[in-house]
Symmetry: C2
Subunit: 408 residues, 2 copies
């Protein structure tokens, strides 16, 4: 399979880009060869690396807008958890498909996913069918641990790499965490985990373990450069030093943190450390969408207002955490447009008001645009969205409508 | 001219809506009469009142993304002001058209506009051509006051009502402010003004006048229920009491306030007063778009994170300030869908991931959607956008591209 993209705007210049198999083969002023698929961007589309969403619970699309504007405990314990109990594994498959459609339509080609362990086979199936990449976390806690331990981890595929996802220190005890560490060491698996999302989590750790979450995890030997910690808001300087020394990845989730009033990620203080900052939307029950372009704007504006400094949260930093930093965390040669990189690319429509005029594409993308500017998506060398059309979209909406009736 | 909208979702039910002349004539389960235009929404579109953007500088679209992530003074004095000097009055006409296209495409049908006085005729012309409503502020300050005084205020039209817009207390001195008050009294004109956007503005007022901005304006007799004050962030309780007693309108500008790190509007403390809170995007040099749906989300999330309370900034409050409160401030019978109200309506596409599933339309609109969900726009009884197509859009983009070259 080869794709030739003609007359596309790349770094402010008109270029042709050739994709062969799953790789960016050539970038040049003009490439005139035959290809299985030719896309003529007519200088009205720009090309960007696809977005990498480093913290998702895809099937929570099923609970989008089901409960909002509530105190955290009421939202989680009285609304979300009871609703999740009603979800069948098939529902999770359809909810994941819905999420992937929304993600592809807003330019995401790679996710760091964790959701209810019991639904993991449906999640994997949905990902393979929709054609984007995922690091798929095997989500474990004290309740499901016995089942998880018996789970035969599937082989990684071209698109899916399995990771260990101990949910959080308040749901997964020492036994689970130590097992996660062993599995990660033995099989070279990434670890995906919630960390210090709320101040309560920190206070509880001090009460139960006599130490803060990062110290607790570090003393268990769990912290290393394979760790991707979501949220990571309530960290003190000593904890940051540990995460820095170990070269961890932290995921900034601005919309979710704002919507749930969790607190503010210390972006400017962290960004020059060895810590690798990524961007994520979280699940769509606490966002409520999966639009990485909107997430970049939220991420930038939240930092400015919190630091009382308009130079905080620069647009180019947001684009970096949404692309190449995500690739670094998830250990794939993607997130950049260079010959030899994976062909995980998106085209965006410059004939929208948001890109007119366009003095600086990154600024226009982050501050003016939204996910609907994405016209075409290529992942692993395959064209998975063309002119905003994705196969099977309507069927998914209909299935989801049926599923949603059990919550009304 | 009559428009019949069939099978549209209104308050969660399928309805037919008849528009005659510029009015909502009838809302019923089924209306079977002939009409000049029939739109069949096929139960896949919902109808909402069009949005009312209560603080805009439309032609600043020309400077969208021209300067970002800079300290406020550098941004304003070294970048924006010098660029504005290069704008011809014709440029302002085209920049306004660009803004109006973006606004219509994201569902706005009414704006409270102020921009450079010298361009006002072009602005009026663009508004009439594009067909949305405006309160058009005659923007005055110490520099242009002699010219403004001589300006013969045009007759109001079906779409445009003129207002007095003294820019701010730091640009318009006592003489200008007193004249504004006289004009407003004599001609029953609204007053549109920036107020207490930054703490510096307040500190300077105390230094120069020995009092805070609201006290200063109140002592000049300027404050009454015809006043619409943009930003209004740095107000103390005494100032809020004055604004409350006088029944003023205040405009919440969340994106701009976040992007310029101006501070946070005290939404929850103000919302139960007689003060009428409206929503605005500000100009697109400090936002950088004009999308009222995104603005509602920003507005909600900023309050939650600032108050450390997920129940602050509820979605239904955001929809109210973006519609009916704007109508109240601008004194038009719009912002609601009821028989006898002006036919200022938008249709939104429910076949997008953001509305699937849909437990609560307001939540989905505010937290999940963006302006691109708007498919059709009716203003003053006329269909000004059909299936996202607006006449003359391409020409405007081309003109603007030409104009933007002088800034590169």
């Amino acid at each position: 399979m080869s794709i030739l993209i003609k007359n596309v705007i790349f770094n402010n210049k008109k270029k042709d880009i050739l994709i062969e198999s799953n790789e960016i083969k050539k970038i040049d002023n003009e490439i005139n060869i035959s290809a299985d698929e030719i896309i003529n961007a007519k200088e009205s589309k720009a090309i960007l690396p696809g977005f990498i969403n480093c913290h998702t619970h895809a099937a929570m699309t099923l609970l989008r807008g089901f409960a909002d504007d509530l105190p955290l405990n009421e939202w989680l314990f009285n609304r979300i958890f009871p609703a999740e109990e009603k979800l069948t594994n098939e529902d999770i498959y359809w909810g994941t498909k819905l999420a992937l459609i929304e993600m592809i339509k807003s330019g995401t080609i790679f996710i760091n996913e964790m959701y209810l362990f019991r639904g993991i086979e449906g999640v994997a199936c949905a990902i393979e069918e929709m054609g984007i990449r995922a690091v798929l976390g095997i989500c474990t806690d004290d309740f499901n641990f016995e089942k998880v331990k018996e789970f035969k981890i599937p082989q990684n595929t071209d698109l899916i790499e399995y990771a260990i996802a101990p949910h959080a220190i308040y749901t997964a005890g020492e036994k689970v965490l130590k097992w996660a560490k062993e599995m990660s060491d033995k099989n070279d698996m990434l670890i995906h985990m919630h960390l210090s999302e709320t101040n309560k989590e920190v206070m509880d750790a001090i009460e139960h373990y006599g130490k803060r979450p990062v110290n607790y995890l570090n003393d268990l030997g769990l912290i290393n450069d394979k760790c991707i910690f979501a949220h990571s808001i309530w960290l003190n300087n000593d904890e940051l030093d540990i995460l820095d020394e170990k070269g961890c990845s932290l995921v900034y989730n601005p919309s979710s943190n704002m919507k749930l009033a969790s607190g503010v990620f210390r972006f400017e203080e962290i960004k020059d450390k060895r810590i690798n900052i990524c961007l994520g939307t979280d699940g769509s029950a606490s966002n409520n969408n999966l639009d990485m372009i909107e997430e970049m704007k939220m991420g930038a504006l939240l930092q400015k207002t919190n630091d009382i400094d308009p130079t905080s949260g620069k647009s180019e930093d947001m684009l970096k955490i949404a692309t190449e930093n995500g690739a670094k965390a998830l250990r794939k040669k993607t997130g950049k447009i260079e010959e030899g990189y994976l062909a995980d690319l998106i085209l965006i429509d410059l004939e929208k008001p948001h890109f007119n005029p366009c003095y600086n594409l990154t600024s226009s993308l982050v501050y003016a645009a939204n996910g609907d500017c994405v016209t075409d998506v290529i992942c692993n060398g395959k064209l998975i969205m063309k002119d905003r059309e994705i196969e099977g979209e309507k069927e998914v909406f209909e299935k989801v409508k049926e599923i949603s009736k059990k919550f009304i």
